[in-house]
Amino acid sequence: MAKEKPQKQRRSLGELVAAIEALIFVSEEPITVRMLIKIINEDRDTVRAALDQLSNEYDERESGLQVREIGGGWQISTRPEFHEDVRAFLKTRPSAKLSLAALETLAVIAYKQPVTVPEILEIRGVQSASSIKTLLDKRLIVSKGRKETVGRPMQYGTSKDFMIQFGLKDLSELPNIEDFEDFVQ
């Protein structure tokens, strides 16, 4: 059978690295390896190798930017060292942090997902309705369907935005919850 598409000429690793760099830049969201494989038309190992090389290049030349894996994809962003210059230019201040209540609720949801409102109450010892609303508004959590139990309560889990805002590659990067055991003196 004849090939329908003209075979693209094989590109050198350097060219692949550059093409991937352009794609990461263009993508609004962190771009997934799967998407890169599809566009670049190379296998996973080649794409992975190119990503590693690209990321290392940025580190080695002490760029103001970094290429890193975050929220299940790859992204270019400024390095934290330059936040003062960037803030002076964008005239932004560090945005309002989440309240401790919201962070605590988020911690429970991150580690126990999918989790229902009553289950969060059990762990936190207090109603968390307004925190959950805040987290939904900020798109840090999403609903994960209903639990097949009495009352079919809504379950919640963390979103992709959560990983991006907290600088996580994926959920497995969260430290083990048992590591947080801390005996009250």
Partner: protein, 260 residues
Amino acid sequence: MEEKEEQIVFDFENAKAKIFRESRDEIQLTLGEFAGPLDLLLYLIRKEQANIFDIPIAKITREYLNYIKLMEKLDIAVAGEFLVMSATLIEIKSRLLLPQEPAAEGEEEPEDPRQELVDRLLEHQKFKNAAEMLWSRATVEQAVFTRAPIETDENNMEVSATIFDLFEKFQQIMERRKEEIQMDIQREEMTLAEMITTLRSRLKKAKKLNLLELFRNLETKQELVLAFIATLEIVRTESVRLVQESTFGDILIVVETETG
């Protein structure tokens, strides 16, 4: 318990109330959602420098109940979960007071009545620490910026939606509609006499009215009919004329001048 002189100072910025007792020891009461009963217990245990695995339950219960009393005194609505915890503490305390039946041969030691509470406290403590970890991660991430929107990005006017957006929008529409219906009911119906008076005074001021515009601004069918009859009535009884300046042009009501 005897009452002591107390001075209460509110620190609204940090949502805290400080209570100074005569003895000058200071009690801080944190309000808001963060300070649930488990937080309060952890705080008390720490304050007493007690061992969490061997909580002096009588003392902690007494302190806990003092706080609840203080909250009530400060007119802070004591949330239900604080009261549930009060009951739990009192129950544990009374169970500890019961004479222990020695474990029979081969039987397991009876469980410490405090155990369940201790487990909950430890579990809660873990998540508090995890929240702190998240806080420090967010701090680092706030120093990192992504590129500005570029040409190929989609228009910012658009929003990506979740099922909750959908629900919220639906609620908003329903609210909006409720208000509109209420406004409809509130609007009073005009009589023909009122319509004639209105039309007359507007004519007097403007000398000339565009009929089409006049009708277009009316809200209901009833008003439209009234305005039509009122116009006919005014044309019939007063010195005004209907003028159409060109063949399919707008129709004007014009007040006749003396010289006209």
